[in-house]
Amino acid sequence: MPFNSQKNLISLTRALSLVFNRDKRAVSAVVSNVILTGAVIMVGFSVLSWMLSQSSISRMQYSEAVNADIDRLKERLGFEYVFYNGTSKSLLVYLINCGTVDNVNLTTVYISFANGTEIKAYSYSGFALKSFSGMIIADHKLNRGDEGYVVLSSLNFDSGNYLIRVATKRGSSFDYAFAV
């Protein structure tokens, strides 16, 4: 019996040793898999959130571009009258915002011959925009239905046909032909 007991113990120890050795290999595989999976999940989430933030930025930019296009589409300026004062060499351009968007910001006014050859360009600070009551509109903006006139000075016109182009900050331009 003692002999058998010792023999049995040895057998058990061997068996456990075998089992233990086999499980060791399995544990390392599981751990590595868990680590790998965790890493993949973490990287996945971070990539996902980064992509979402990037797409959000892109969407915002696209949205701004679309809205800008729409606002530009809604812009419309009508020319009520253009008067050239030969004595003061100034041109008065009477405008109405007949579009469907506010804040039509007049940035540049171009004067050219009828064939398109430019005579003069007035930048933002080079001309004054006034309301019909004579008040200066400092920000050069006309809201819906507003009327105003642009005063362009130092123009020496001979008799003939001319073109005027008014450009806005949103990128629209409005042309009008007039005779002196």
Binding site: N33, V47, L48, I70, L73, G78, Y81, I96, C98, G145
Partner: protein, 355 residues
């Protein structure tokens, strides 16, 4: 093994089961699967949201483009006709612009501003008046009167006028003066500077109320072509318009008369006459006469009712036709045009008088 190789029908299912078993037991590929799932989910969510969002943006943009096109269509469909425009210069440097507006388009129109440009050899001025709340419904007619202040003009000078209206949609509507086509009609109908409105020829019976003479049934009266004489006498109402080519003012003197000739016998004709009178807004005939002024392009009602010329001490007295039945009528007008003597005989209408 020999059994498997001997039964080909069992090979495929067993291999498949084996493969599935291996796949499930093989932990080495798990992270790749999870990564792939994440990648697919990320891609799908991104593409779906971006795609849907872009569709919505495009729809939004297309709607705005449609709205913009509709605005352009509306702007092109705006049709306002402004005709019979008259200008009157006041002494205070204001100009009264009267015009007849007709919205012949399908849309209601907002009028924002009227512009007036005035010129002659020495003057070149313009101004505008803004409207706060001027609308014209589709199909509506309206007589439009507005005053525009223009510095440097005089009521005694002659000018050329140009005016136009600005609409809320940015259209420009020119105001057409009352000239051109009128002159063609005036030559045919009026033969001269005065045009007669044949459709608005009326008569009234003159009645006496105390010491004053009144037009019965004023202002309606009755058609002047068939006269049922009654009361103290007859008064005729004629609607004339000054269409002088040079736009001068005509002033009618008291000797202006509407007369008729009755062919009573083969050898004789008999006449009846009604001199010009003044009638106030209540239909009362003035006993004296103040010269009637006919401004260019303005329709003016003239009344003829007096038996004699109202001048000096001769006051109004009613006139009756002593003869009846059919008679041609002439309108003999005497006065001044632009300060110069003027006379015009309008071979008028025929009337039939019953007693």
């Amino acid at each position: 093994m020999s059994q498997l190789s001997g039964d080909p029908a069992l090979i495929t299912p067993l291999l498949f089961k084996e493969k599935i078993k291996r796949l499930l037991c093989d932990k080495r590929g798990f992270s790749s699967i999870v990564g792939a799932i994440f990648a697919v989910l990320a891609m799908m969510s991104l593409f779906t949201t971006v795609f849907l969002w872009m569709i919505s943006q495009n729809t939004f943009y297309n709607e705005e483009v449609k709205a913009r096109n509709q605005l352009e269509i509306d702007r092109l469909n705006e049709r306002i006709k402004a005709s019979r425009t008259n200008y009157t210069i006041y002494t205070n440097g204001k100009i009264s612009v009267t015009t007849e507006l007709q919205n012949i388009g399908p849309l209601s129109v907002q009028l924002t501003t009227i512009w007036v440009y005035i010129s002659n050899a020495s003057c070149n001025v313009y101004n505008f008046t803004r409207f706060s709340n001027a609308y014209l419904k589709a199909g509506a007619n309206s007589t439009f009167n507005v005053e525009v202040s223009v510095a440097g003009i005089s009521s005694s000078s002659t000018y050329k006028f140009t005016s136009w209206l600005i609409t809320g949609r940015g259209n420009v509507v020119p105001l057409e003066e009352y000239t051109g086509k009128i002159l063609i009609a005036s030559v045919a109908q009026g033969i001269g500077a005065l045009q007669n409105n044949f459709e608005d020829f009326k008569y009234y019976n003159v009645t006496k109320q105390g010491s004053i003479y009144v037009l019965a049934n004023y202002p309606n009266g009755a058609s002047g072509y068939l006269v049922n004489q009654g009361g103290e006498g007859i008064a005729f109402q004629v609607l004339v318009t000054n269409l002088d080519e040079n736009e001068r003012t005509i002033v009618l003197l008291p000797s202006s008369v509407l007369f008729s000739m009755f062919p009573t016998t083969e050898q004789q004709i008999r006449a009846a006459f009604w001199y010009i009178v003044n009638v106030n807004g209540s239909g009362v005939i003035s006993s004296t006469y103040t010269p009637v002024t006919l401004s260019f392009g303005v329709e003016t009602r003239l009344y003829f009712a007096s038996y004699k010329i109202i001048t000096g001490g001769d006051l109004f007295s009613p006139s009756k036709a002593s003869f009846t039945k059919t008679a041609p009528v002439n309108l003999a007008l005497i006065g001044t045009i632009g300060g110069s003597p003027y006379g015009q005989n309008i071979p008028f209408v025929s009337i039939y008088i019953n007693n």
